[in-house]
């Protein structure tokens, strides 16, 4: 059960009451004007009630969503109504989907292709979860198989060949953990994508739009600029997986979510991501159009900035950026410090 969907129930009831009342109000007004009566006193009192309910709604919205915990953000990132990769692809000026890894099959959990983003030619890589059960079965809940990563790898190479900057949208709970995936070399497929992105001679801008789960997300997530939507998450493992691995108890997922520092704010503070794109109060699904356009604008700005630099400088900075991640101390230093 999604705890955000749960918390939204009160809001939805209120929304319904407001809209019912509005309909009633209009009916009354229409009735009165038809009767020719000017006594609109009852109608005014309805308007007041509507205003009161709307204020209550707004304050409830702030109360519920104003300050989400890490665990609540995990559920927001997994919200069934959250915009998917296809929502952002629909916001491109043009998009031509390219299918298949040329070896085994086309993985529907990955959508790739060439397109136009704010007038710029781009190569797009996206991870796609389903909207409903039927689509989720087809898209494997956004869990990518090796052939999906190999499709991505093929497109990364094509991007370099035609000087197309790479734009990626990340939304996966993790790479598929199944028999077929292991038989077809899930590790190698992910490893090759990561390696390719560290050296590809075009700018790369990645964004996490929902869940950024583990190596399966990183395969499309090595980039010159990493953007995260405000309520998306990016994590070494799912909180459930982390709890199962460390404490053999998946029910401690909430604790793991807090400890893992997987929110956009935490990761910006750790210096791992570059930009956070704010979401409407209540989450991206409350105003899909505004979220899509804000995220695509952020991609556009990053691409402009990177395209103005010589590609050798982009690559040198990409190397330096990852080279810096992870601090350590020298034992001897520490001992000096201790005395």
């Amino acid at each position: 059960m999604n705890i955000i969907v749960d918390r939204e129930k009160g809001l939805l009831e209120l929304e319904q009451r407001i809209s019912d009342l509005k309909v009633l109000n209009e009916q009354q007004l229409a009735l009165r004007s038809a009767e020719g009566s000017a006594a609109a006193a009852d109608g005014v009192s309805f308007a007041n009630e509507i205003r009161m309910l709307e204020e209550k709604y707004a304050s409830l919205l702030r109360e519920i969503f104003g300050n989400l915990t890490a665990w609540q953000k995990v559920h927001m990132a997994r919200h069934p109504m959250r915009p998917r990769a296809t929502s952002y692809l629909a916001g491109l000026d043009e998009f031509v989907e390219l299918h298949g890894d040329r070896t085994f099959r086309d993985d529907p959990a990955v959508i790739g292709g060439i397109g136009l983003l704010g007038g710029r030619r781009v190569m797009v890589l996206a991870q796609q979860k389903g909207r409903d059960t039927k689509e989720n079965v087809r898209r494997n809940f956004g869990m990518v198989h090796p052939e999906g990563y190999r499709k991505g790898l093929r497109l990364m190479r094509m991007a370099e060949k035609f000087s197309l900057p790479i734009v990626s949208f990340i939304d996966t709970s993790g790479a598929d953990p199944g028999i077929g995936a292991e038989e077809r070399g899930q590790s190698e497929a992910i490893a090759q994508c990561i390696l390719q992105l560290t050296k590809v001679r075009v700018p790369v801008v990645a964004s996490v739009i929902g869940e950024g789960g583990s190596g399966g997300a990183l395969a499309f997530g090595v980039a010159d600029r990493i953007i995260m939507l405000e309520h998306s998450i990016f994590s070494i493992a799912s909180p459930e997986g982390c709890a199962a691995i460390l404490w053999k108890d998946a029910s401690k997922a909430e604790e793991a979510a807090t400890r893992l520092k997987l929110t956009a704010g935490d990761l910006k503070a750790l210096g791992i991501i570059d930009e956070i794109v704010p979401e409407p109060l209540g989450g991206a699904h409350r105003d899909v159009e505004a979220t899509v356009s804000a995220l695509l604008r952020a991609h556009g700005r990053a691409l402009d900035e990177l395209s103005s630099m010589p590609i050798d400088q982009v690559l040198a900075e990409r190397y330096a950026k990852y080279r810096r991640i992870g601090s350590w101390q020298a034992e001897t230093e520490r001992m000096v410090g201790a005395t």
């Binding site: 292991e182 038989e183 190596g215 400890r259 893992l260 080279r323 992870g326």
Partner: protein, 301 residues
Amino acid sequence: MPSVTDWLRGRKSRQVRREPGLWEKCPGCGETLYRKDLELNLLVCPKCAHHFRMPAADRIASLIDGDFHEIAADLTPRDPLGWTDVKTYPQKLAGDREKAGVIEAVLAGFGSIGGIDVGLAVMDFFFRGGTMGAVVGEKITLLFEEALQRRVPAIVCTASGGARMEEGLVALMQMAKTSAALARLQEARLPYISVLTDPTTGGVSASFAFDADVIIAEPKAVIGFAGRRVIEQTIRQRLPDDFQTAEFLLEHGHVDMVVERHRLKAHLVQVLELLMPRRSAEAVTALPRATQGETSGDTWE
């Protein structure tokens, strides 16, 4: 610079603290083995050839000819997330040091193997399950960078449960950091060989372990992306016993060869010799094309 003999001496003294049993029971055949005999046999069961997990120092001693110049030997992690569960992360690390006798999950350095100068990193499963955090990432990265500078091939022996949870996304990003350095080594056309030992999974498997030019696996080693338990929970059925073993991977085309521990050094030397242009004058004249004047401009030194 510590030599292999210094290393072994150090390891032995730590082992006294670790107090290993005099006897080991072989998980392969159930035979009770004298620990010393087992160590003399490279931790391979003389009865059934079961390969025991090997501490990093022993592995290095089994591969390197003479001196081993360790790099970044004294690096220890910080605590980027301020992690605490039943213990703090620094407390967990202290426990692992005591248990494994090393201060992190990988040892890296330079030496020669069969007369060929190489960079060698060996992961140690006895330290935090060989997990990769910032220090493992840093040492592997330094190994690739320095191998490039010295223009020598690199070898990494992996043994890892994946990225280290207690360092969160910082640990995951080590996959990208090591890969970036590896890409540079590969672009310079220096060979990189990985040796996958039991077990190699998760973030290590999905980065430098499977990006090698030649991938060697030890017999029966468990190698895969997802852990067996995770897969069984996902598909709700028991997996066949040989699933994710070195032999299974060989059959499915993911590793070049399965090599038993006694023959590993010889195989590494042979592969490196065949991948690299000959260096000695004698070897060069032995190449028929070398007498035809212009061949390729590739040189190694």
